[in-house]
């Protein structure tokens, strides 16, 4: 990178806030989607919004693209650095600035971890609702970029439902506020589109989040079923019965075996298990839980275990949450897919996946958020066998096609990032993508904020004032002019 630019960068954040050595940059080459790698020109570690603003202003002036990064737990390459760009890592901005229990709000910096908020407010009987499985390490800034959900989003919604306002630095370096601590900030709901925009519109430097009171009672059951279809039938009957559980999770035989080998949750050895959690006022939960138990029996559950205390609940959840990592016990490598189908199409899509499994010769484990139709097929392969990794990737892609054909989505929670931008046209027409691009161009007309993500062929926004100059992003072949 240009030495004069690097000198100025150091002035923005101090010399201890800039990383330039190849060995230091290595850490930041990828997010949790590790097969995509790219080395940034520089990494900056700002400690304040003012520093973020200074860095963005400098990038804007020099025409250097930048990418904001939280703790790097993203699964779609959303925080993949741009070669010769600046990576703005927000992990040093990790302070909980304010907790307001009477109003159930907290103000946090973007580098604060998801779980840290809940830990801080737990003594007051409160928690922060979105709970992605990476909640111990993932940051709120990253959650906002990805609109993270978690196992309990069926009932409690996503990050977008729990962030009331943010302070953000725009790609032109202005620091502005979207939403605020009170509801219904006047004007367009730009916060609603900023959340989930995968860091392509602005860099969030502060967020006001909503806290919830812990429910009076939580009850959880683990039911074993002889077939996936029977378990699916139970889920449909629960929903049709007018019950909205806090969580409904399903695992198939392969993922049950893997979890058992890894963390011994003592799951029944059946073709499918269902985990159903209800929460709310005790009087309501007691009554509805009996209904759920009855439905499971009616649908042919062969075993039902009811968790009577927190430790039992923790053991069951541990078995579920360990499913991904546990696949390493049964397969040398595996590919995690993230797709969504309408709940009523689950049996049909699962049948197609089973056919694909037979046809492809690769084992496919299924673990999913059954309540909201979010599938996580795990495609097992062995990279030591030539061509098998590519084969697994193709199989994973075919599953996404099934999801779209069933009226679903190409990602329920991992995001589009770089990984899935090529699939966007499967789900959206060119006019749909152009309409989204209008928002992008309004926020970032010069295309320097996390370019090359989300959109299949990112386009520049046309009427940039002044004489035409080839944009660095254009030069790098990352975009064409809109």
């Amino acid at each position: 990178m240009d030495p004069a630019f690097l000198t100025e960068l150091a002035q923005c954040v101090g010399t201890d806030g800039v990383l330039l050595d190849a060995s230091d940059l290595l850490t930041y080459e990828s997010d949790a989607l590790v097969h995509l790698r790219s080395t940034p020109g520089a990494v900056v570690l700002p400690t304040s919004a003012a520093e973020v603003q200074a860095v963005v202003r400098l990038c804007r002036r020099a025409g250097v693209p930048f990418v904001a990064r939280g703790n790097g737990t993203g699964l779609s390459g959303g925080a993949l650095p741009i070669e010769n760009g600046v990576l703005i890592t927000l992990s040093r901005m990790n302070h909980i600035l304010e907790v307001d229990i009477p109003n159930l709000r907290a103000v946090v910096e973007p580098g604060v971890t998801n779980l840290a908020i809940t830990q801080r407010v737990a003594p007051f009987g409160c928690y922060y609702a979105p709970d992605p499985s990476s909640q111990v390490v993932c940051s709120i800034g990253g959650n906002i970029a990805e609109n993270s959900g978690g196992a309990h989003c069926l009932k409690y919604g996503f990050t977008v439902h729990h962030v009331l306002g943010v302070e953000a630095v725009l790609p032109d370096g202005e620091r502005v506020h979207f939403g605020c601590a009170v509801l219904d900030a006047p004007g367009l709901d730009l916060l609603g589109v900023l959340v989930g925009s995968e860091g392509t519109l602005a860099v969030v430097t502060k967020a006001t989040v909503r806290l919830l009171r812990r429910a009076e009672k939580v009850m959880l059951l683990l039911a074993g079923f002889p077939t996936i279809d029977a378990a699916g039938e139970a889920v449909s009957s629960i929903i049709a019965g007018g019950i909205v559980p806090a969580a409904v999770e399903m695992m198939d035989r392969l993922t049950i075996e893997a979890a058992e080998a890894a963390v011994h949750p003592n799951f029944p050895k059946t073709d499918a298990v269902l985990i159903v959690e209800l929460d709310g006022p005790a009087s309501e939960v007691d009554e509805l839980f009996a209904v759920v138990e009855g439905i499971c029996r009616q649908c042919g559950a062969t075993t039902i275990e009811i968790a009577h205390d927190q430790s039992q609940r923790d053991r069951i959840w541990k078995g579920r949450k360990a499913a991904f990592a546990a696949m390493g016990r049964v397969s040398p490598n595996y590919y995690v897919q993230d797709g969504v189908v309408p709940r009523t199409k689950l049996p049909e899509v699962l049948r197609r996946i089973r056919d694909l499994e037979a046809r492809s010769g690769l084992r496919i484990g299924n673990v999913f958020h059954a309540g909201d139709g979010n599938l996580h097929p795990l495609i097992c392969y062995d990279e030591a066998i030539a061509g098998q990794a590519e084969h697994a990737e193709k199989v994973a892609a075919e599953i996404l096609t099934y999801c779209v054909e069933a009226g679903g989505a190409i990602t329920g929670e991992h995001g589009v990032g770089v990984d899935k931008k090529g699939y966007m046209p499967k789900m959206f027409a060119a006019d749909d993508l152009d309409a989204m691009q209008l928002v992008r161009c309004a926020f970032d007309p010069t295309g320097i904020c996390n370019p090359g993500k989300v959109f299949p062929t990112p386009r520049l926004c046309g009427e940039v004032p002044g004489p035409y100059r080839e944009h660095p992003v254009e030069r790098a072949g990352l975009a064409e002019r809109f």
Binding site: D100, P102, N103, R105, G125, E146, G157, V160, H161, L170, V176, H177, F178, A181, V182, L183, D184, A185, P186, G187, L188, D189, L190, G192, V193, G196, I239, G242, I243, V244, P281, A282, S283, E284, E287, L288, V340, P342, R343, T344, D372, G373, G407, G408, A409, T411, G412, G415, M427, F428, D431, D432, L433, D434, A435, M436, V439, R440, A442, P445
Partner: protein, 388 residues
Amino acid sequence: MSTQIIEPIDAAGAAAALGEANSAGMSVVVGGSGTKFTPPPSDVLISTAKMTHGLDHVAGDLVATLPAGAPLDAVNELLRRERQWLPLDPPRSHRATIGGVIATNDSGPRRHRFGAPRDLIIGIEIALADGRIAKAGGRVVKNVAGYDLSKLMCGSLGTLAVITRATFKLSPVAPFSQTLIATGSDLRRLSTLALTLANTPPISPTAIELQSLPHRLLVRFETTEGAAATQTIIAAKLCEQFGATTHVVTGPGEVDAWRAHEGRVFGMAGTVLKITVLPTDVAEIVSTVDRLTSTAGVECAVSGRVALGIVLVRLAGDPAAYTPIVSEIRRAAIAGGGSAVVVSSATDGAITPSDRWGPIGDAKPVMRAVKARFDPHHILNATLAPWD
């Protein structure tokens, strides 16, 4: 000026009409059933009145795709056949259309539990100013593919595009409903009581509304009959500790109580102001409204979604007498980090966007940029919004 009225039946018709107006540089107003404001003068009025076909309810998925022109109550009547509903209860819901409810992000008392349109919408279809049709989101509740334009449309007042269809997540209809009414003498104490009720876990109401005068709280429980009874007893005890007397209404009595509650603010002439503040500031702002209106001798009705920090105020009588009060209320709300927006005005045609909205914050330039991208010739609902 004569206005050309176009009533398309679907997105293609709306897009064609819009594209034509755009090429001709004609101003366009998009109208539903007119429950929010009188359409300002324009060259073209695109009415959604005939966009009422194609409702698609998938009960097993707990979602429905709804045409923009369908009235909310009619939609919910259909959804209720499967014991589900779109949990929104904005004023005048018998007439309010789906498109209008989205465009104004309108809601009612049960926002306390279920949220506003932006919290329930999962997909949208819009006709763009250039005559194209675009969609975003989808028909599944969990979906992070692409920008969520459906949320952007919520509250955009039809200034960005014509909303033609939307998909929402639904809720099951609760098997039982009853409302506890607590009557007190002191608004401040009632406000504190409302917050206490909201923050005492076994009590889990779907709505908590403050009203004055008379000084009352309406607390609604929608769950199983047993759970409603248990929670009502606990809530009633708390009310008594705060010196309020209570009674419970259910069945037709409950329906009447809520209808009357809505009517106090929305059923009569006047100007309606929506104030948003922190929940703990509701008592203070309500007292301020009370003081200002009684000093000026202005007739006023108040209802408050206390736990959400929303207060609705109807001011009646001579607009000249209460216009200065609106400014004072706005100043007080802004001082506490909130806002005060005129949601319906007795002087509908005369009110300017900035009088209606007050300041819209430091993101205004981005709002204007978004507007300019979606509607470069500024033809759409151009006189309505301060971000135009």
